[in-house]
């Protein structure tokens, strides 16, 4: 085995699968190359041609959508002359009595705060890299945080939750969807595409 010739330069080119610890020697990786772990099939590398600029563009668009959607009507209902309109922040802040306020704070974080933070961190990390500049200070920390917050950004779940709520409401009242709903639906697609285009391996190598 190659155990005996483990010089620091050799270690430099090795990566270990974070799921099963299998080690791979990554030599030259071309644009468009992809690699999955042989043992557990975890995707390790997925380089795409000129993905960087696209990711920044999509992240910026998504960031603007999150912020703008906060101030626009989300859903409106009417019944027997009474009507009510809600924004995304109203929905997140629906739990307001006593200990339920904790749930409100968590909801704001999961559907607005953390998604917006992840987008900002992505823009901050990738902008200098894409334009071949030195990474901005704290870029590694920023990308580390963005990677670790991934499961806690729940906009897609919120949008499906809205669809379920609409079905529940249709026989109770007349429902109208506001612009913020469509902005959130678009946002979900942008974030999913952005995440699939991001190659962690390439970003980490660029941040070295």
């Amino acid at each position: 085995m190659f155990m005996k010739e483990l010089t620091p330069e050799k270690i430099e080119n090795l990566i270990a699968c974070p799921k099963c610890d299998a080690v791979y020697d990554v030599g030259y990786v071309d644009k468009g190359d992809r690699a999955r772990c042989d043992v557990c099939h975890y995707p390790l590398i997925s380089r795409r041609r000129d993905a960087g600029l696209l990711i920044i563009a999509m992240s910026s668009a998504a960031f603007i959508l999150v912020i703008a959607a906060l101030f626009l009507p989300f859903i409106k209902i009417q019944r027997m002359g009474f009507q009510n309109e809600t924004t995304i922040l109203d929905a997140a802040l629906a739990f307001s009595d006593g200990p339920m306020i904790l749930l409100s704070l968590a909801t704001v974080g999961l559907i607005v705060g953390l998604p917006a933070l992840r987008l900002a961190l992505t823009i901050y990390t990738l902008t200098p890299i894409v334009f071949d500049r030195k990474p901005w200070p704290g870029a590694r920390r920023a990308f580390w945080l963005s990677e670790n917050l991934k499961p806690w950004s729940m906009i897609e779940i919120f949008v499906i939750g809205t669809a379920v709520a609409l079905v529940k409401l249709t026989d109770l009242a007349r429902v109208e969807l506001g612009p913020a709903f469509w902005m959130f639906a678009a946002l979900v697609i942008l974030v999913i595409v952005k995440d699939t285009f991001t190659c962690r391996w390439s970003v980490w190598r660029a941040l070295e």
Partner: protein
């Protein structure tokens, strides 16, 4: 045969995949803490798991939604709410809610317990299959939050003075906590433990050569 970082006297970073000599404390690239095999992870898995199971009990016994219409005031638990939807004929939504709020959380509790108990033991299923179970648990766990969001949307939207109003019940908080604790439990699990050969197998392999 594949070689692991541990076999080579190295440790891999679980965030950025870079490899370092064993004993290095923090990854020099991304700053994550480096641990070759996190055996203490099982304690954290169980601690969060117990918290998740405990929170799941009030989540089902207390009301999730309190609906007030002109003539009546109704408190529904998760399961009662789904049954009522089904009785209106909204079978699809009733099934989504039952799957997301009952089936998935229960399956997750069993799956995490099984993965944690099977570390270091021979199992009838392969490590690859156990890894698949783990990935499914990690992927699907977040989706249980759907019911909490439904409650949030309904209770902010349906506030039509005397005609109809919907308010969240305390079960929404318990349920959200249960989902978050279970996500933390799954996140604490070091999946590399699945792939380690158990000692007995190692000795067999050594005596065979």
């Amino acid at each position: 045969m594949t070689v692991t970082a541990k076999d080579l006297g190295l440790v891999g970073c679980r965030t950025c995949e870079k490899v370092w000599p064993i004993g290095t404390e923090r990854c020099g690239r991304c700053g994550a803490r480096l641990i070759s095999r996190d055996h203490k992870s099982l304690q954290r898995v169980w601690a969060w798991w117990i918290a998740g199971v405990l929170a799941y009990i009030p989540a089902n016994t207390y009301p999730m939604l309190i609906t007030t219409t002109l003539f009546r005031n109704q408190e529904d638990t998760i399961i009662a709410g789904a049954i009522e939807l089904a009785s209106y004929g909204a079978w699809g939504v009733a099934i989504i809610i039952l799957v997301a709020s009952v089936l998935i959380p229960l399956a997750k509790f069993f799956a995490i317990a099984y993965l944690a108990l099977s570390v270091g033991h021979r199992t009838s299923i392969t490590p690859f299959q156990r890894q698949v179970i783990f990935e499914v648990v990690e992927f699907i766990g977040r989706w249980s939050m759907i019911d909490v969001f439904v409650v949030a949307i309904l209770s902010s939207l349906v506030q039509l003075s005397v005609v109809a109003s919907i308010n969240p019940g305390i079960a929404a908080l318990a349920f959200a906590l249960s989902v978050i604790f279970t996500m933390l439990s799954a996140k604490s699990f070091d999946s590399r433990l699945i792939w380690d050969k158990i000692e007995a197998e190692k000795q067999e392999a050594e005596s065979a050569t």
